[in-house]
């Protein structure tokens, strides 16, 4: 798998496409394939879960969980 990083791909894609070598084009294609593989394995969702912020402290915010109000019909 290519190890091309996002910054590298930005640099690569800023080149004149008509001056790109075969290797440049292969690197761009490989980068996209790696991105696809990461998405297929749920990489982006996993990363978000890993970096999730700590749960909210409701008490500290002056909030408390209450049961929904029961509406009674006569």
């Amino acid at each position: 798998m290519s190890t091309t990083e996002p910054n590298d791909i930005d640099l690569l894609m800023s080149k004149d496409p008509l001056d790109m070598s075969e290797a440049d084009l292969d690197a761009i294609i490989a980068y996209n394939r790696n991105q696809r593989a990461a998405r297929e394995s749920g990489g982006s969702r996993k990363a978000r879960k890993d970096s999730a912020s700590p749960p909210l402290d409701l008490a500290k915010l002056g909030l408390k969980i209450t049961k929904p109000k029961v509406e009674r019909r006569m």
Binding site: P17, L18, L25, D26, I28, I29, R36, R45
Partner: protein, 332 residues
């Protein structure tokens, strides 16, 4: 304008009576005659390039090139390299606003990703392109054929020698357009039409293609162009996704001979209405279509008092010169 320009006009000379129709113009007429007039007679276009339009054009172009590279003998990787190079070259001037929802989903990066994903997925396509009798592949087929009837108002131009070169008498209606591919699948033949979408191409998405003006026309056109039975259209949908892999779904929409005949019969009534609107110079609003698909582009104009609509058109739209208004007679 020279004589060639006159010949290429889709209208009868000095009238708003259109004789050349494609699925775009016909679809607009059926949706709302007023919208049709604004777009395709007056030439009003929303200011700024449509992100969706540019994305769709470039996607089609890239896949068309991939087909051609493959059919000319390139292997998958070589064809893909060539496609990526040419795509990046064409996209140099495209800088959509990626803070908008449309631009977030449809921009050069997502387009490149979509094209590479599609080519990888369908490198060995189970629905191969048909090769025509003359040996050419059935891709990017522009079609144009005459109907056996025409506008009932046939003005004096017939006596002035301005008859289009492909016609020998009173101007008949002409149906024209463009087919992406004609393919073979399970021993049957289909037109394949590529679509890009940001919504899920599930059953709700696929249901919209039957009945559907464009797909009925493409089925008929496919039969005429290929001179063979066409079962319908395969919708080759590509869903652009940001966090999940792009999603490719193919759906089938079938047409029987009787359904095609019905569509052509209905067409007589539609074109007769269009001729009538053009003759009296009035294109009515269809006020039941204003909110379809997130809202008509002209809703903000049509909702105003008629006396001020022109001002709102001038503020939010650009009026194209007549030679730049969409003309289905100009082949791609």
């Amino acid at each position: 304008m020279d004589e060639l320009d006159k010949v290429l006009s889709p209208f009868l000379p000095n009238t708003e009576i259109r004789f050349a129709w494609d699925s775009t113009t016909l679809g607009a007429l059926k949706t709302c005659p007023r919208m049709y007039k604004y777009l395709y007679i007056d030439g009003w276009q929303p200011k700024g390039e449509s992100i969706h339009l540019r994305f769709g054009i470039e996607y089609h172009k890239a896949l068309e090139e991939y087909d051609h590279f493959k059919l000319s003998g390139d292997d998958h990787e070589t064809a893909l390299r060539n496609v990526v190079r040419q795509l990046l070259d064409r996209l140099r001037d495209w800088d959509p606003d990626t803070t908008s929802r449309a631009g977030q989903y449809k921009n050069p990066r997502t387009l490149l990703s979509l094209v590479i994903d599609y080519c990888d997925k369908f490198a060995d396509d189970p629905a191969p392109t048909i090769v025509r009798e003359d040996g050419r592949p059935a891709t990017e087929l522009s079609f144009r054929f005459e109907l056996d009837w025409g506008p009932q108002t046939q003005p004096e131009y017939q006596h002035e020698g301005h008859i289009p070169e492909w016609s020998s008498g009173p101007q008949p209606y002409v149906l024209c357009g463009h087919l992406d591919r004609v393919v073979s699948y399970n021993d049957e033949r289909f037109v394949m039409d590529r679509k890009t979408t940001t919504t899920t191409p599930g059953s709700y998405y696929m249901d919209q293609w039957s009945p559907n003006n464009q797909m009925s026309l493409y089925t008929i056109a496919g039969q005429i162009v290929m001179n063979t039975a066409i079962r319908g259209v395969i919708i080759d949908a590509a869903q652009v996704l940001l966090e999940k892999p792009n999603n490719f779904v193919r759906g089938f929409t079938y047409r029987t001979q009787a359904q095609s005949a019905e569509w052509l019969n209905d067409l007589k009534f539609w074109l007769h209405s269009a001729e009538n609107y053009a003759t009296v110079g009035y294109w009515p609003q269809n006020d039941t279509a204003c909110n379809n698909y997130g809202g008509c582009r002209f809703r903000g104009v049509c909702s105003r008092d008629p006396s001020v609509r022109e001002r709102f058109l001038e503020a939010d739209f650009v009026k194209l010169p007549p030679d730049q208004v969409w003309n289905p007679l100009i082949p791609r």
